[in-house]
């Protein structure tokens, strides 16, 4: 086992190298774990909804609960007009949640601990929400940057600040998920290294910390998926209803 705590984030290719012009399209361990995540979600929902009974089995109950959880979240934060975006937000939530949880297994790879993955997810949300806003409201959508009741003298300053605040959305969305996952996994590995280097005599304290941190990490894994989904709903609400 490598003792370097950052070694777990290394991306390496599996199988032959595939290049398309200048772009390297090789299948990596990151792609493998993304595929595993997608297959896990599909099989979980497929098995959960296979035998539909009035009194649900445990598997069906969990599948139905995940549906109600996301549906309620959309209804509470974005209103009923956002109902048609349910498939997108459900997919986003399940992907982030399962990617985080798969990363908690020993010897696995955490896809969401790479900023490029989380940034692409956030960029899809950002560009999508902006397009929805412009389609729904036309150029009136730009009123989002002009708050009401501001003196004309201050307006140029306020508009620039509002634009920066709008542009910071994808950055904060992606950095939050990436930083939490990477920091947590690095910390787990560092404490694991302490257990080995302190041996039988002093290794018990870091071992206890490791166990506690694993629990905390599972909470964070769920929480980050929840925050990612709920912020998508809030941004969607801003685009659909146009009032702060």
């Amino acid at each position: 086992m490598a003792t370097n705590p950052m070694h777990q984030f290394e991306v390496y290719k599996i199988g032959p190298e595939i290049t398309l012009g200048e772009i390297n399209l090789s299948f990596t361990n990151a792609s493998l774990f993304m595929a595993i995540t997608a297959i896990l979600i599909l099989s979980f929902l497929f098995i959960g909804t296979k035998k539909k009974t009035l009194i649900p089995s445990k598997m069906q109950l969990v599948a139905e609960m995940s549906y109600t959880f996301v549906a309620k979240m959309i209804n509470d934060t974005a209103g009923s007009s956002a109902k048609s975006f349910f498939p997108f937000i459900f997919t986003l939530f399940m992907f982030v949640l399962f990617a985080n949880m798969v990363g908690m297994l020993p010897y696995s790879f955490t896809v969401t601990s790479h900023i490029i993955v989380t940034f692409v997810l956030a960029a899809i949300v950002f560009v999508g929400v902006t397009i929805i806003g412009f389609v729904k409201h036309g150029f009136k959508y730009l009123e989002l940057f002009v708050p009401k009741g501001v003196p004309v003298v201050l307006l140029p300053l306020i508009v620039i600040i509002e634009i920066i605040s709008y542009l910071s959305r994808p950055v904060s969305l992606s950095v939050r998920l990436f930083a939490n996952m990477m920091a947590g996994h690095t910390m787990l590995k560092v404490f694991g290294g302490f257990v080995v280097s302190l041996g039988l005599l002093g290794g018990w304290l870091p071992l206890g910390f490791s166990v506690a941190l694993t629990g905390l990490e599972i909470l964070v894994a769920f929480l980050q998926a929840y925050v990612f989904a709920i912020l998508t709903c809030i941004y969607l609400n801003d685009a659909l209803n146009l009032h702060h």
Partner: protein, 95 residues
């Protein structure tokens, strides 16, 4: 059908229990932690985005380092605005 009747009564008892518990822990720890993580990154991200915009504009107009400094403070303002809005939203929920 007997089984169904049975589960209705069991569900009602369980629901009553949940109601009792709900009153006790309003605003759970997990939700508060989610809010804390949300707000802290919002403050930082705006500053980074503001400074980056200033840096790029500096390159265009050849005014190093004036615009970087100005946009850094704009970013700080935007960050505080973001935090203020999020806090307002949380307050509305508890009213």
């Amino acid at each position: 059908m007997k089984n169904l009747k049975n589960i209705t009564t069991r569900l009602e008892i369980a629901k009553k229990k949940i109601k009792k518990k709900d009153i006790k822990d309003q605003g759970s720890n997990a939700a508060s932690m989610g809010n804390a993580l949300k707000i802290s990154t919002e403050l930082v991200a705006s500053v980074v985005v503001g400074s980056t915009i200033g840096f790029i504009l500096d390159g265009w107009f050849d005014t190093k380092p004036l615009l970087t400094i100005i946009f850094f403070f704009m970013g700080v303002a935007a960050g505080i605005l973001n935090v203020f809005r999020s806090a307002k939203k949380i307050n509305e929920k508890f009213k």
